[in-house]
């Protein structure tokens, strides 16, 4: 059965093509931009449109993650890092651009030559799509019993790898804590240090009442939505990572509007550290329970002893899989939420250290101590 390209007849291909062109335009703007703030804002836009393209390419889970993680967290962390370093990159002399340009063009030509031989775009008969992909599409409902195949593969078939991924997020949080501290210096008097940081301040008029009221309305909604995404991960697009990042962003917006010290009183850095490690503990603990019941590590069919399994499982009989996947998604959410919040605490709480040690910052000061 030969498949012929529908030549943009399919609306999703049309959207895909249009969004790809927009992505290329944004990327060109990033290449020419010199101020780092412009680059970061455009990178946020780039990930936003990339997530749109993922939706057009039938990948809602990836779109969800890209929008939440790429659009939200990396933009905020990049902003934090720009604050702590400098605000515009030094212009590079064109003579130093020649060799990288040649290298890039050669690499591009090589890749395009290789790309020529892979199956066409959207070809259902390609080896990846026809054999392995379909195999999981057919087996998942029978063996794991949840509709979202991506969540099933992520949590159940490939649970061990996702444990490694959760540990990577935990390790990154620990790394940033070691490098930038826990941000608890912000608990002191941030106002006085803020003035020391910016001598050229001017009287501020507004107390941002509108912003505070709107944020007070939004934060509970974001928490609720995060939990919805967590527990809705099997049926629709969503899952542990996306939920964890949404909860982290709810905390970050609270810190942005009400001040880091206020947020750290409500969610202290110690709780973040405990949450990050507790998540990995929950995840690995579920694996160990399976082993105690005689199954392999992270094989959720053995999560419950046989009599309980029959009692709990519904018509399709996969209670262990359902509860196992939800349990590890909770673990992943705990690790990701507290890990990313700890990372933000590190970046946001670091600003006062630089000021207190007199190392000047910002473009006008150029070279430092």
């Amino acid at each position: 059965m030969e498949w012929t390209a529908p030549l943009l007849a399919d609306p999703s291909l049309l959207f895909g093509a249009a969004l790809l062109v927009m992505l290329a335009a944004i990327l060109c703007a990033i290449v020419v931009s010199r101020k780092l703030l412009t680059s970061v804002a455009l990178t946020g836009l780039f990930t936003l449109v990339a997530a749109l393209w993922y939706i057009a390419m039938d990948a809602p889970d990836v779109a969800f993650t890209e929008a939440v993680v790429g659009g939200g967290v990396s933009t905020l962390i990049l902003l934090g890092s720009i604050l702590l370093t400098r605000e515009s990159a030094e212009p590079v002399s064109p003579s130093r651009m020649v060799f990288p340009a040649i290298a890039v063009i050669l690499a591009g030509v090589a890749i395009l030559y290789a790309v020529g031989s892979i199956p066409g775009f959207g070809d259902p008969a390609s080896p990846a799509n026809a054999s392995v992909g379909r195999d999981y599409l057919e087996r998942t409902y029978k063996e794991v019993g949840i509709p979202n195949v991506v969540s099933a593969v992520l949590a159940s078939y490939r649970g061990f790898d996702t444990l490694g991924e959760t540990t990577v997020v935990f390790a990154a949080a620990v790394g940033v804590m070691l490098l930038l501290g826990f941000g608890e210096r912000a608990l002191g008097d941030p106002a006085r240090r803020h003035e020391a940081l910016n001598p050229d301040l001017v009287e501020e008029i507004d107390h941002h009442v509108v912003l505070r009221v709107a944020t007070k309305i939004m934060i509970p909604l974001m928490f609720l939505f995060g939990l919805y995404v967590l527990f809705h991960g099997e049926v629709g697009a969503g899952g542990g990572f996306q939920a964890g990042v949404i909860l982290a962003i709810a905390l970050i917006v609270h810190a942005l509007v009400f001040g880091l010290s206020e947020t750290m009183r409500a969610f202290p850095a110690a709780a973040m550290r405990a949450g990050a490690s507790a998540g990995v503990l929950i995840y690995a603990g579920v694996g160990v329970i399976n082993m105690l019941n005689g199954g392999a590590f992270l094989d959720y069919d053995f999560l419950f002893p046989p009599p309980l399994e029959q009692a709990l499982s519904g018509p399709d009989g996969h209670a262990g899989q359902h509860y196992g996947i939800i349990a590890i998604e909770i673990g992943v959410t705990a690790t990701v939420a507290s890990g990313i919040t700890a990372i933000f605490y590190g970046f946001a709480g670091r600003a006062p250290d630089i000021a207190s040690r007199g190392a000047s910052r910002g473009p006008e000061s150029g070279g430092g101590s």
Binding site: A5, D58, A237
Partner: protein, 156 residues
């Protein structure tokens, strides 16, 4: 030829974007801008993988039964032989495996990005600047035989 062109444009644009983000990475001395180039490169790699996973006329890999309204609406768009041959239980889905891979890659990408930026901040504190030339000069100056000036001591 037309067929290759009709679908080849996707790979061509994505590879071009990959090379553009590599160019951003290579042609800057600023550490932060290098990290931006790196995260863009990672995003475009994700685009490439998902482009491989797209199945013509397919929908998201979340199982829906063919008799539901959405299932019938989608099946009506494609000719039955295609659905029967490439579909699973009457619905054509995209390939779920690259989605899982890229979902992991994005999360790990942000984790490494945050650690990289933290290191850039410490470089700024230790050497006063994040431009690689300035850092190299400061490092060379710091390793002179006479006692090095009090660089920003990374406090405990």
């Amino acid at each position: 030829m037309i067929d290759a062109l009709a679908t080849g444009y996707v790979y061509a644009i994505i590879v071009a974007m990959m090379m553009a983000s590599l160019f951003v990475l290579l042609t800057t001395g600023n550490l932060i801008r290098k990290m931006i180039g790196l995260s863009l490169f990672q995003t475009t790699a994700g685009l490439f993988y998902i482009a491989l996973s797209k199945v013509g006329g397919g929908t998201a890999p979340i199982i829906i039964d063919a008799e539901s309204a959405v299932g019938q609406a989608r099946a009506a768009r494609l000719d039955p032989a295609y659905v029967e041959h490439f579909g699973v239980d009457g619905v054509v889905y995209g390939n779920p495996l690259p989605h899982v891979l890229i979902l992991t890659a994005i999360v790990v990408g942000v984790a490494t990005l945050s650690v990289g930026l933290a290191i850039a901040v410490r470089v700024r504190e230790a050497y006063g600047d994040t431009e690689l030339d300035a850092v190299r000069r400061a490092d060379a100056a710091a390793s002179e035989p006479e006692p090095p000036g009090p660089r920003g001591r990374p406090n405990a």
